[in-house]
Amino acid sequence: MNQWLDERLHISRLNDKFLRKAFPVHHTFFIGEITLFSLIILILTGIILALSFEPSNAMVVNSFDPGTPADPNLVPAAYHSALKINALPFGDMFRRIHHWCANIMVAAAVLHMMRIYFTGAYKKPRELNWWIGMLLLIFSALTAVTGYALPYDNYAYNTLKEIYAITASVPWVGPWLAEFAFAGRFPGEGIIPRFYGYHIMLLPGILLALTAAHMLIMIKQKHTQPQYAKRIAYKKIVGVPLITQQTPIMIMLALLFAAIVILFSAYVPVHPVEHYGPPSSQPIEGIKPDWYLLWVFGLLAIIPNTLSFDLLGGHFSAEFIGALVLPMLVIGLMFAVPMLDRAKDNMYYAENPTNHPHRLAAGIAFLALLIVWSVAGYKGELVANGYLPSASANAILWGLSFLIPAIAYGLTLAYVSAIRRLRTADEREQERAMVYGHDD
């Protein structure tokens, strides 16, 4: 059969070019693959969900609790269909798997980026893939947020309202932009159909295109090689080929991953729509966004409302500055990483993080900052439970936003220099042993 196909499709060329791509063997190199598996599971479970989901926020009678003919119990059709999906065999399970995978996909992407950052793999010639990776991260977060909106329960409703307010806070064009993106003034009749379109067509299309570009560039440029490759065969690509060695590893990893996700989904519910109920005028106590947006939420909590001004007829509100300007700066900084730290020659080998203490320390300080801001997202709870005084909570949290990253930076440097001292001591010891022989 191979020959039959080869004569028609020249698959042996495909084989030489792509299927024999060498994959380095190191556990950190598998995190990117986990991101890919999550995307695949998301698409599969998403298609299954889409078969039963009803993308409409028109009000329908809740068939599970119809009320009386005179006073029917009306709920949005999307919410109703989420309840119906929950009642299908394995329906709730599919929703949970889809939802867990969305979280895991973002988490895996973040960990994957940390590996790239700490080993300097973003340097020439791989800047392009760093930028594509950033876009993938942003678009997967967007996809997850639009997905949240779909069941149109009270949680989704409140989240949408908040995002609408943020969009409308853009100076000059805000209200127009918000109505454009949300299909009319919130909550317009078209909001769920519109978000359905975003979530299952537009954004997955973008994600798939970006993923394809990411993979092709990776195959063309090859992975950075782990340090052990330098010792085995200098300047040669070391690793196991995609076909046949890497494939079983990947399949095993994918199955293991799927098994873990399903196990999680079986025991840990996410987004129980019936718990939140249909959209209502009641806010949700302590509502928080997903963990990867918590830092923006925290920023909004500590940005002073006096920070607003008018310029050339546009209103720059604290909301705009906290939810859009500052996060853009943070994201811009991440985009700029390959421009801030460059290599003259093409990189072959992943760098040992401890050989670049300042980069390592800066990365850890950056993570520390995001964690401080995420904690600030719990300001309400911290104040309510007496951990923070109400009056100076903002000042304290802003202070910590500078202090904790600075401490993290210093500690990392100290730690790295300790490691290096040990290492050089070790080397000296070895040299001595080589020259004079062992004491024993």
Binding site: N158, K161, W176, N305
Partner: protein, 218 residues
């Protein structure tokens, strides 16, 4: 004989293609923008989306009693949420909850307790007072604080003092809660006019004025 001076044909051809590409691209982008405009639907101010109007009756927003008119006896120092209910051209009763920002907060305080920026003229006997119940920060509905100290927005910890005219006493909200002028109608509560200041989501007087005009005209 005339001698033709032949221009370099390569150059003109390239120019032609550039101009043609530019022109088609411009036309294409413009028509695309036109179709994108369709993604932005027109806003129609239907009766259920109008802001609270003069003559509206306040009805309960609590799902258990939704639609029953509020009586002064229902009110107290704990929050009662309300929708304005008006009538359409045919005289049908319409609860104006198509615009979720129409949610109202109604309180009844002891005489003399209202102070600060509260407009006593716009209350019933200086006791019953109505505000927009929508946080001016990002539009969450605002419940009573758990510690009994005014109102507390759970979204980003905005705090309001309903006894002092709904002013902000903590957190990020940029404006106070807009007060709605009311009068008594029998046992019920009737709206006497538009909000006294722009309610959420209006950030400036001009758009709020335009909305009032549109509501009156429609």
């Amino acid at each position: 004989m005339t001698r033709y001076k032949v221009k370099d044909p390569e150059l003109t051809r390239r120019r032609f293609i550039n101009v043609a590409t530019g022109a088609t691209a411009t036309v294409g982008v413009m028509s695309l923008l036109g179709t994108l405009g369709g993604a932005h639907p027109m806003f129609r101010m239907t009766e259920d989306k109008k802001p609270p109007m003069e003559g509206d009756i306040l009805v309960h927003a609590d799902p258990a009693k939704e639609g029953t008119p509020i009586t002064v006896a229902d009110l107290g120092t704990t929050l009662v949420q309300a929708w304005p209910m008006g009538t359409d051209a045919e005289g049908n009763k319409i609860i104006r909850k198509g615009e979720p920002n129409n949610l109202l907060a109604v309180y009844k305080f002891a005489a003399g307790e209202l102070s600060g920026e509260a407009n006593v003229e716009a209350t019933i006997d200086g006791q019953v007072v109505a505000y927009s119940d929508i946080c001016t920060h990002a539009g969450c509905p605002v419940p009573d604080a758990k510690d009994g100290n005014g109102m507390f927005c759970p979204c980003h910890s905005g705090q309001y003092a309903p006894k002092q005219g709904g002013i902000v006493v903590g957190g990020p909200p940029p404006h106070k809660l807009a007060q709605l002028p009311i009068v008594a109608e029998g046992d019920n509560v009737k709206v006497a006019g538009f909000f006294l200041t722009p309610p959420y989501p209006y950030t400036d007087e001009a758009t709020w004025e335009a909305t009032k005009e549109a509501a009156k005209g429609a």
